[in-house]
């Protein structure tokens, strides 16, 4: 299944809303709380900064993956492109489990097809 991403914006003059550019602060705060020690606190400034950081991470990985697609003359960014981008950018420890997951998914899909035949 592919998700088509259009370039159209909700605003006429193509201004991106702040909340569309960032992930929800509640989700960011909740994830941080899970990691931090029980008695630790997080300043509002830290949450907002972390919001910016994760959005920047998404853009960074997406940009690298889409560049690979552009060079290979493909229109769809797929899972392998994301894994490749993560590894290229130095996040190998994320990429390897992801790649394993992708392989498992492909194997499961082929098994299901064989069962149908």
């Amino acid at each position: 299944m592919e998700d088509s991403i259009g370039g159209s914006s909700s605003n006429d003059n193509n201004i991106i809303k702040e909340q569309d550019r960032l992930l929800p602060i509640a989700n960011v705060g909740r994830l941080m709380k899970q990691i931090l020690p029980q008695n630790a606190k997080i300043s509002k400034e830290a949450k907002e900064t972390m919001q910016e950081c994760v959005s920047e991470f998404i853009s960074f990985v997406t940009s690298e993956a889409s560049e690979k697609c552009r060079k290979e003359r493909r229109k769809t960014v797929n899972g392998d492109d994301i894994c490749w981008a993560l590894a290229t950018l130095g996040f190998d420890d994320y990429a390897e489990p992801m790649r394993r997951k992708s392989r498992t998914k492909i194997q499961e899909a082929s098994t299901n097809q064989n069962d149908l035949c």
């Binding site: 990691i35 931090l36 400034e45 830290a46 990985v61 130095g90 996040f91 994320y94």
Partner: protein, 170 residues
């Protein structure tokens, strides 16, 4: 909003971030035309892992500095310590001058506040004044104690009238 998405060993993995929002952030890149659902899932999941990693490292910095509250400076140190993160994120963080709040409020623009001059110090405008007429009552061997305050008794406002520069005593 927590979303159940993929299955691994029969257990569904909960995604912390809404897919729609992740897709919107990915769509900010004009080169991105289409994204597979698998790619979207992997981006969401890796973003969670990245956030957890950065939060953990920031918490370590806070503990090192004996602080209970994680703040922007702790995140900055955590980013600096990890090379791949530093490469793309260090420039995005607000500069330390903005982040660190000064203890004392800075002085408003204008004339700097000067310390009052010690007693007996002569002001510069004394140089431009007319020399005082010699006091006849004064003994010839003794100069006046404070020439700045030696005024003629008949015209006490003479000094103020002749000083061209107003003196700011405060």
């Amino acid at each position: 909003m927590v979303m159940a998405d993929e299955e691994e060993n029969g257990v569904s993995i909960q995604l912390e971030f809404p897919k729609g929002r992740v897709k919107k952030i990915m769509a900010l890149d004009k080169d991105v035309k289409r994204v597979s659902s698998e790619a979207l899932f992997l981006v969401s999941r890796s973003t969670e892992l990245f956030l957890q990693f950065l939060a953990e490292k920031s918490a370590q910095v806070a503990i090192e500095k004996k602080r209970k509250t994680v703040n922007l400076e702790h995140i900055r140190v955590a980013v600096k310590r990890h090379q791949p993160t530093r490469d793309f994120l260090l420039d995005e963080l607000p500069p330390p001058s903005q982040a660190a709040k000064p203890d004392k409020p800075t002085q408003p623009a204008g004339r700097p506040k000067l310390d009052p001059a010690p007693r007996g110090t002569r002001c510069i405008d004394q140089f431009f004044r007319k020399p005082e007429p010699e006091n006849t009552a004064q003994a010839p061997g003794q100069p006046p104690e404070n020439p700045a305050q030696a005024q003629s008794p008949e015209n006490p406002d003479q000094d103020q009238a002749q000083s061209p520069v107003p003196v700011d005593e405060s």
